[in-house]
């Protein structure tokens, strides 16, 4: 029991580190793409509150949203926001990683206010039923 709790503590710290690593890697690539002229707008990822209705077996208690927000550059249309979302959801590796690290909501937001789109991540990755084992 003691070693189980200890492992849980270690897992929690490792998950935190992996989550911030994922966010940092995206932001770095987005910055490089914007500077290199590949992306017309600067995208930035941050961890948001998320939607509790979308929770799954890996979901965290708090902050379960993976939000990508458009910053400087030109304003993105709704179609472009939808397309960015589709690109991310079609990347199986990224979706799987997001799910196991406790995120359950993908949000793509425009530059202003809360204008954007939101997806339920578990719809894009069939999760095995571990709890029934």
């Amino acid at each position: 029991m003691l070693s189980n709790s200890w492992n849980n503590v270690l897992d929690w710290f490792r998950d935190r580190s992996e989550r911030s690593k994922l966010v940092r890697s995206f932001n770095e690539s987005a910055r490089n793409s914007f500077v290199g002229g590949i992306a017309p707008t600067l995208l930035k990822t941050k961890i948001s509150k998320g939607e509790r209705a979308y929770k799954h077996q890996f979901s965290n208690w708090l902050n379960t949203g993976y939000r990508i927000q458009a910053f400087t550059g030109r304003q993105l249309s709704k179609d472009e926001l939808m397309h960015i979302g589709k690109v991310i959801l079609n990347d199986e590796t990224l979706v799987r990683k997001l799910v196991v690290l406790g995120w359950d909501t993908l949000e793509i937001h425009g530059d202003e206010g809360t204008y954007g789109c939101r997806w339920q991540l578990k719809d894009y990755m069939p999760l095995p039923k571990f709890n029934q084992e």
Binding site: E18, S25, H83, V87, D91, V100
Partner: protein, 142 residues
Amino acid sequence: MNDTLIQDSLKLAEKVVAKTVENNDSSNFWMWVAIGEFAVIIGFVLAPRFKIKPTAKQLFKEESIAKNVDFNNILNSSFHSNELYDILKVKCHPDRFPTDPMLNEIAEKLFQEITKSKTNVKRLQELKIEAQQNLNINFEKL
């Protein structure tokens, strides 16, 4: 004379007792060190036997975290996959090769793959090269 003898022998006895107690303390200390070392060694030997096996959920998590994500491709695809897809879907459509059944079959497979990878620029670029080689398509002139 007798008194001094008794006093001397008493002092000597005290010294002997003190020396013996001192020796016992040090031997006790080293005995406990040895017991501690033995316990540590036993712990190391037995630890793998009592190690908790990771559950299927933990294994699934480990496996998912170990994979690398190509963010550069994701960002490139977010803004440029549509243009490339539009070009490829027109140029590699099977209806453009109605006379040659072999080319038609290649185009059919390629077209299916293009549709499947419409949001992945890296894969679309690979398919573009494949189309140039297998279907002799010139992408320079539209």
